[in-house]
Each structure stands twice: as C-alpha cells, then as structure tokens.
C-alpha cells in the first residue's frame, strides 16, 4: 500500500519530522477558504500516487483565495496524464495546500529494505528532487548508504556519517541526524517497505524540512495497523488489484496487458514463465494470472471469468504443473467450472502434468478442449489460435 503525500506527511508529523504547514482539500472552495483564512504564499499540489506532478502541471502557486480556487480547479479538472507504469493515468481527487518554502538546497533521504545485506538501508544524496534511479545512474558515488544492524537500531552517529559521506551542505548537519532517526522510527513502527523524503529542503533561513513524503507500507503487515483502513479506502484502487481480490486470488496475482492470449498458471514463477513462453511463440499476452495452489472448480471458474470479462483474450492458455494435485482432479475442476460459467467462451489450450496426467488429458479432450503436454507446445498452440480468431 503506497500512501499519498498528505498521508505520508501526517506520519512524518507524528514522528517529529519537520513538514511545511498545510491543509488537505478535496475541492476548490475548501482551498480558497483555507487561503483566505491564512494569508501568505501557498503551493497547491495534486494528491496522486503517480510521479511527475510538476511536469504535468499539477503543482501550482497561489497567493490569494481566488488563485487557490482557480488553480485547484485547474489541477483537478483533468487526470494525471498516463505514463508507462500507469497507462490509464490517475484521477485527482484532492490537493494539498502547502506553505511555499524559500528553498536554498535540496537533498535526498530514504530508508528501505536491502535484500542483499538483509538489513534496512539508509540512503542519502546531495542531489535532491531527482529520481533516485536517475541519481544512481548519473552520480552513483554521491549516494551514501548505511546498512542498519536491526539488533542495535538507529544511532545518531549514522546520521552524522551519512551527512558527511553524502557531502550534504553544512546547513543540514545539525538537524539531519535527528530527522534520519525519526524516519527510521517511522519505518520500523509501521513496518514500511520504503520511506522517502525527496526533496529534504534546506530553507534560506536555515531550516531543514521534508518538502515531499513517500511511504510504501507492507500489505502483509497491515493487519497490525488497523488505523490505516480509512486511508486505504480513499486510496485510488488499482483496478487489477481490485479485480483480483474480487476473484478471490491474491492482489499481486493478476495483471492485465493489451494482448489477446489469456494465461493462467499455478505459482507465480510458472505464471511469469508462461507469459514469457507466449511471447517467445510470437504472441501478445492479455494477462498475468497466478491461480495459486490447487485448482478447485470454483477457483478456476472465478479466474476464467476474471480473464474473459476484463481482458481482450481470444484464447485461454491454462498451464498447470500438478506437483501434488492429481491431473484428473484438476481436469474435472476445469470441465465443471466451464460448464457453470456464464462468461463468454473462447478456445482453451490446457497444459496439464502431474499424477494421473494422461487420465486428466483424456477428460479435457472429451470435453472439447485442447490438452497439450508441454508449456512450449501449449504456448505455440494458443498463439496460433489467437492469430486466427
């Protein structure tokens, strides 16, 4: 679960990380009222999960109530434009009206989990306001890192070393160790995947303030933090995740693409390999789908309907490696599921192996489906059918 800026800043505030004064507004009138009551220079920022708000014209300045009203309207009038990660863009449902900071310098600070070291890593760079991936490519030497020993936790020397290692401006030195410590507390308290301050601003009057906030929480840890349920409701639901949840599979188990070969496999690795096999055979994938363990008739039916109702699949390639499950049981499950479903019908190519695989294939063939023995064979067959459909 990724938080929006205003939610992340609320957590920052609770943790004692300095953030600009602000008001979260869901419409232009509220923004105007806030600015009328609080004269000054404000910046109005779209609240979305996508990056690139500045370039998209979704961050604007306002110094009067009228300006606040008109720029909020303008920002909210159109969704965030699509990019590669979000081909549909993202609607804008609220803005953050925030004190405009007199920024002198911008730095970067983040904490995430490091797979290789099996530790949390604190990363600092003097190049704030840029994507860290970009910094890593252009100035890899500028990123100072510390891998925190979880048994010891954070200690201020870590912040001092990082500030000096990253060559942060001297103005950061006093405040930084405390800010990094507060960020680490927050990271640990909520079991976050990522907490990021980018940019961490140094103002002309010498204050260090988190000008943006990015927080990625761990979905697997949300059961411990019921307080986020409300926020979760207002977050823009990723359509694929919503559909997956409705079909009763894990939210990470379903992804749509714009091709015409529907796929389904048991296990994430095999499901990815199945997509790759379709692509190798010259086909275009309609989706990724991991049906999970076993393949009961109900589960198969839900998954079939998920793909038929929400993708442009012209053929459905089911790839089941029945490690433990019996092939004849899986075959019966598939046949039953497709008898019950009201969804549109497309040709089925089914690769089935495991105990009793021959019996399983006989059941499928008798029901008019195309059973195959290998993944490559199935992928080729599915691509061929899709190209003729």
């Amino acid at each position: 679960m990724n938080l929006m800026e205003y939610q992340g800043k609320e957590l920052f505030r609770r943790a004692g990380i300095p953030v600009p004064r602000s008001q979260h507004c869901t419409n232009a009138e509220d923004a105007a009222t806030f600015v009328a009551e609080h004269p000054g220079n404000w910046v109005v920022k779209a609240q979305v999960l996508m990056g690139g708000r500045g370039k998209a014209g979704k961050i604007k300045f306002a110094s009067t109530a009228d300006e606040a009203r008109s720029v909020t309207r303008e920002i909210m009038a159109t969704p965030m434009p699509p990019n590669r990660q979000n081909p549909k863009g993202e609607p804008i449902r609220s803005v953050l009206v925030e004190e405009r900071l007199p920024i002198a310098k911008e730095a970067y600070c983040a904490i995430t989990v490091d797979r290789a070291h099996k530790r949390p890593v604190v990363m600092v760079s003097r190049f704030g306001g840029m994507d860290i991936e970009e910094v890593a490519e252009q100035h890899p030497e500028s990123i100072a890192k510390h891998f925190v020993d979880t048994a010891v936790g954070y200690s201020p020397f870590i912040g001092r070393e990082l500030a000096s290692g990253a060559e942060l401006d001297a103005g950061y030195r006093r405040a930084f160790p405390m800010i990094a410590g507060a960020l680490y507390e927050l990271f640990f308290k909520y079991g976050a995947r990522l907490v990021e301050i980018n940019p961490l601003a140094l103002t002309e009057d010498g204050k260090v303030i988190a000008s943006d906030a990015k927080v990625e929480l761990d979905d697997d840890a949300l059961f411990r933090h019921k307080e986020f349920e409300e926020w979760q409701r207002v977050l823009p639901l990723d359509e694929d995740e919503t559909l997956a949840a409705q079909a009763g599979v894990g939210i990470r188990n379903f992804r749509r693409f714009d091709g015409n070969v529907g796929t389904m496999a048991n296990g994430a690795g095999l499901a990815m390999a199945t997509m790759d096999a379709v692509s190798n055979a010259g086909g275009k994938i309609a989706n990724f789908l991991d049906v999970g363990g076993g393949a009961s008739a109900e589960r198969v039916r839900n998954c079939y309907e998920l793909v038929m109702n929400h993708t442009g699949a012209k053929v459905f390639f089911i790839n089941i490696f029945g490690g433990i499950t019996r092939g004849d049981e899986v075959a019966n499950g598939i046949v039953t599921a497709l008898k019950q479903t009201q969804a549109r019908k497309v040709p089925l190519v089914i690769r089935l192996t495991g105990t009793n695989e021959k019996e399983g294939r006989a059941i499928l063939a008798a029901a008019g489906m195309t059973p195959v023995e290998t993944m490559d064979e199935g992928a080729a067959k599915a691509v061929q059918i899709a190209s003729q459909a």
């Binding site: 290789a116 697997d220 990470r252 296990g267 095999l270 490690g323």
Partner: protein, 287 residues
C-alpha cells in the same frame, strides 16, 4: 553428499496439527524423511495423525528427539515467533514455508538469529532426492544425481526439475529460497555450500525479475565457480515496471531488477542462459 539435508537429518514440524502441516508431514514421511515429531502449543503429549509425538515447544521437541531441522507451517503473523523459538531451542536449519510474512518480521529475525540458517519464508522447501524432502515439493518429480538447483519459485522449479529428470539429469539438492523481498538464505549462500559438495557437478539457477540477487550470484560464480557448468533461467521478461507479479519481491523499478540486467550478468561470467525452461537440460548437456 548433498547440502543442508540428507537421510540422517532429524526434522520436526512446527504446526504439525494444522491442515497444511499435517498433510505435508504425511508426504515428507512417505518420501523417507526422518520426521521425528512436531510442535503445536497446547497439544503437547498428544500424537499426530501420523503417530508422531507432539510437543508444546520447540525446546521440548529438540530435547526429546535431537532434531536439528524445523519446518514451519504456522500462519504468517506467528512465523517470526516460530523462528525466534527455533533459534532459542538450538535448531540449526529452519525452513519457513509460510507465505505473507511481514517484511520487517523477516528483517528482524534474520538480523538476530545468527547461527541458525533460515530458508524462506514463502518457499517450497528443499529436497535432496532419494534421501529426504522438507517442505511441499512433489518428490516423484525429482531424481538423485549431480545437478544442484536453486530457485526463487515453487511450481517453476518442478517444471524445470521435471525436464532435468526426463533428460536423465538427476539432482543433488534443490533449494527453493523463496519469493519474498527479504529471505534468510540467498543464491550466494547456497552456492557456497554447493561449491564444497562432492555430489554436485553442475548447477541450475531459476531466477526471476526484481532485486539484484541474480547479479550477485553471477558475480560470485565468476569469482569462485569457474570450472562448474552453470545454466540460468530468468522468468518475468515481459513484466511491466513498478508492479509486483505474484511474488512480493518480483518487481522491476526503473532499469533495476530487469530480466535483461540479470541475463547480461550471467552471460558475462560464462553462465548459459536458457530462453525457456525446456532448453535447460540441453544447455547443461552441451557443457
């Protein structure tokens, strides 16, 4: 030889009376694994449906049976506790099958349980074919031999192993290291063991997108395993950036964690990379 596990390893099952734990205990026993008991708090003194002794704590089970291995089937919120308890009780190898363990739980556990090897979480376990199997792998697919295999996924491993076995290429040990962002044992940890195993004469690595484990494995192979044939396969070449595919760890961000970067890292050290799982046996035999 083989690594981590053989016919003499004494194994207990944490969560033995649960549905999954009980079912897979039966299968591990049928494979010949020395399962010597199980743990379910509150059910100490009872027998499992397989006739094995059930203990209230890992400590009691270890004291009574001499177990060194613990396979964990408890629900995700309790997995960290099970691992801490295993460490306290002196278990040397804990295999955590449980899926959905909070990342920070795993972080804290792996950072504070030195001396105990953890495989997983979110993994299918490991098997030394013909000797013992711990976890949920389908034993009949495997065959004893000389290929060591390391994989981040479950069913894809079976797919690959099935191909090896059909081609007459048996396996020494197959380790499913798990699909989570933080895991107890990485490719490099397993490679170190394989490097010293006399039974292992070739290696297969089944990787996937996300993280940089495969790149690190490639670097280690380049430095230490120059003489051994290694074949790799990377799944998820068609994954979109920024979205996890099934495994929480399978996520591409920017140019980081892509299949291409992993494939290039392997090729740079002379590891052959299969385009599809079915090519793996052929590439191994060509060495």
């Amino acid at each position: 030889m083989s690594i981590f596990l053989d016919q003499n390893s004494k194994v207990i099952v944490q969560g033995i009376t649960g549905r999954e734990g009980s079912y897979h205990t039966g299968r591990m026993l049928a494979y010949g694994t020395q399962i010597v008991g199980g743990v379910t708090p509150g059910k100490g003194g009872q027998k499992s449906e397989h006739g094995l002794p059930v203990f209230d704590s890992v400590k009691e089970a270890v004291d009574a049976t001499g177990a060194t291995h613990n396979v964990i089937f408890v629900p995700a919120p309790f997995a960290a506790d099970a691992l801490y308890e295993s460490h306290e009780a002196g278990i040397s190898l804990a295999i955590c099958i449980t899926e959905g363990v909070p990342v920070h739980d795993t972080l804290k556990v792996v950072g504070t349980t030195s001396g105990m090897r953890i495989i997983g979480p979110n993994c299918p376990g490991l098997i030394s074919p013909g000797k013992a199997s711990v976890g949920i792998m389908p034993g009949h697919v495997f065959k004893q031999g000389h290929v060591g295999l390391i994989s981040r996924s479950g069913t894809l491993t079976y797919e690959v192993v099935d191909g090896l076995t059909r081609a007459g290429l048996g396996q020494s040990t197959c380790v499913g290291i798990g699909g989570d962002p933080i895991i107890g044992t990485t490719y490099v940890d397993v490679l170190r063991e394989f490097a010293n195993d006399s039974q292992t004469k070739a290696l297969v690595i089944c990787g996937e997108i996300g993280g940089s484990d495969e790149e690190e494995a490639a670097a280690w192979i380049g430095e230490h395993l120059a003489g051994i044939p290694v074949v790799a396969f990377i799944s998820g070449r068609n994954a979109p950036p920024g979205k996890s595919l099934g495994h929480a760890g399978a996520i591409v961000s920017g140019s980081f964690g892509t299949a291409q970067s992993k494939i290039e890292a392997f090729q740079a050290v002379g590891v052959r990379v299969a385009e599809r799982p079915s090519e793996i046996p052929k590439l191994l035999l060509a060495h």
